[in-house]
Symmetry: C2
Subunit: 332 residues, 2 copies
């Protein structure tokens, strides 16, 4: 079995954290707490088991107002690329208590590609995966690109408000392009701090996707962070494609232009354009409003976060661009 999307999984001793535990004290407290949620983490393997079950330990019951139990805590099973079911935290979830879920049983003993998508917005311990005693376990099929796409950003990046873990925009994109990905979205906390730039830049990535802006209080604070964040990546990865995304549409923009969001969009364009002008051939700009713009308000819940329709639109828009940047043939 392989664990994808969690670059520090081995170093962290098998804990499903999204950041390196040894640097815990260098991160702001909310960032480290959000790193407990293994959004983007996937367990992949092939098996001919006639049964698949899972034993999970969640620290607490679900409790968000804009994500239900499936969205906040669910572990989705996709088999052969198709959604099959979801394990979720119960109302009685607490540390020390376990929850078992049988995804399937008594199925024919055919080899299947298994992907388990880990929770978007709650920590979890995967205590056991249950298969037939005699089941074969083989490596999952390889990705079309060996290295992962690395996404840094906000709650939207983290997967809020998908209805389940297989419906974050990266998860949809990952299936569309057969690519691996790392989700470093931190709800309310995607500020672009130097310690996060170092974490992102330390990953051996196929591409970096910058999806942060909205969590910064002002255009000025984003200005302080954005250029240095890109420089930190470029210092380690001279030629790796970088895609910068400007903020997607927010429902309040149906009323009037939002100077803060517009300013952030302009800032991101400026920073990227300066790099392009200076000769960086591997950075591109994607307008967030091309992914989810004013004509696509139905793709938002709560005015700010995409719902599944919004994430589908984002994934569609990103798939074409990233396939081009990475040389992935989408006509296959």
């Amino acid at each position: 079995m392989e664990v994808d999307g969690l670059p520090w999984y081995g170093e962290n001793g098998g804990e499903l954290f999204r950041l390196p535990a040894k640097l815990k004290d260098t991160y702001r407290m909310p960032v480290w707490e959000l790193a407990q949620s293994p959004s983007g983490g996937r367990i992949r393997f092939r098996t001919n088991s006639t049964t698949l079950a899972i034993r999970l330990e969640y620290p607490e019951p679900p409790g968000m107002s804009n994500m239900h139990a499936f969205g906040q805590t669910g572990v989705d099973l996709y088999a052969d690329g198709v959604y099959r079911g979801t394990a979720i935290a119960g109302r009685d979830a607490k540390a020390g208590a376990t929850k078992e879920h049988v995804y399937y049983k008594q199925q024919p003993a055919a080899l299947r590609e298994i992907t388990l998508y880990l929770p978007l917005y709650m920590g979890v311990k995967v205590q056991r995966i249950g298969l037939d005693p005699e089941a074969r376990i083989e490596r999952a099929k390889p990705f079309s690109v060996a290295k992962p796409l690395v996404f840094y950003g906000t709650s939207i990046t983290q997967g809020g408000c998908a209805s389940r873990s297989g419906m974050s925009y990266q998860a949809i994109l990952g299936r569309t392009l057969n690519v691996d990905f790392v989700n470093l979205g931190f709800s309310g906390n995607g500020l672009g701090e130097p310690e996060l730039a170092r974490a992102v830049a330390s990953i051996d990535a196929a591409s970096f996707v910058m999806d942060f802006a909205q969590n910064n209080p002002t255009v000025e604070s984003l200005t302080q962070a954005y250029g240095p964040f890109l420089e930190a990546i470029r210092a380690q990865h001279a030629d790796t494609p970088i895609l910068v995304i400007t903020p997607i549409y927010s429902a309040r923009e149906a009323w009037s232009r939002d100077p803060r969001l517009d300013g952030m969009r302009e800032l991101i364009r400026q920073v990227a354009a300066r790099r392009i002008t200076a000769g960086d051939r591997h950075i591109e700009i994607l307008e967030g409003t091309d992914l989810l713009g004013p004509s696509r308000g139905d793709g938002l819940v709560d005015g700010t976060h995409p719902n599944d329709l919004g994430f589908e639109w984002m994934a569609e828009g990103l798939a074409g661009r990233l396939a081009k940047m990475l040389g992935i043939n989408m006509t296959r």
Copy 2:
């Protein structure tokens, strides 16, 4: 202001029930309880108010595992056809307590088309809608067809699991075609009982959409209900278009055919085909799997209910067919 989608609103003394209170004792208890949730109900008007607020009383806090507070309890505002925001029940909601939400304020005093979509899965009392004291209030723009489309069915029909009340498939469809609708979906309880057939048949509808099957325990029980339900409608409405929908795809069908669902699909086809053969020129069959079939598993949450992506797909498929049946020009 007009209240749409609740045919017994006047008769029920302004309560937002989906069935006539005077017949309460004729309905099974869970059906009557589900009728407290005003799914499909809309408050519509035009106003030039610079402010719009609402005061709501919810009986209890949100508490579903596959719908969050926005999906279960939200009252969505669309202005000029565009999503603006949502009022939701708080964790402290209880009978007698009120919740106020300001949708907008200090906007230009321009005339706007207001639609408030009432909650999908919880009862609510709308105690007050707040506008400027001097605001103009005018009738909402007329629908493209005067009478409503009437939907009868299950939890899926009721709106499970949309992320908010403006994202049930009927709500999306209503915006696409500019049509009025009545939602008589009853979660877990869309059995097709005679008393529900009478309620449905009593509505002066532009079209009847039959979206029930899955809640019946067996094909046999559906067989008992389905033909008589259609006859009850036809006895009152000789020429009104009826669209029967067979069950949409369920995630368990990714494993193997489901004899119960397949049997229900076949039964519905048979019942409708017999009517067509007998000369009924105003009944059509729509395969649920054309709306949400095996290639669209991403449109499901929890294996059974559509998420927003699934509802978007359902609405798209229904829009074309219903526009044709109702003579609505979609090229405008």
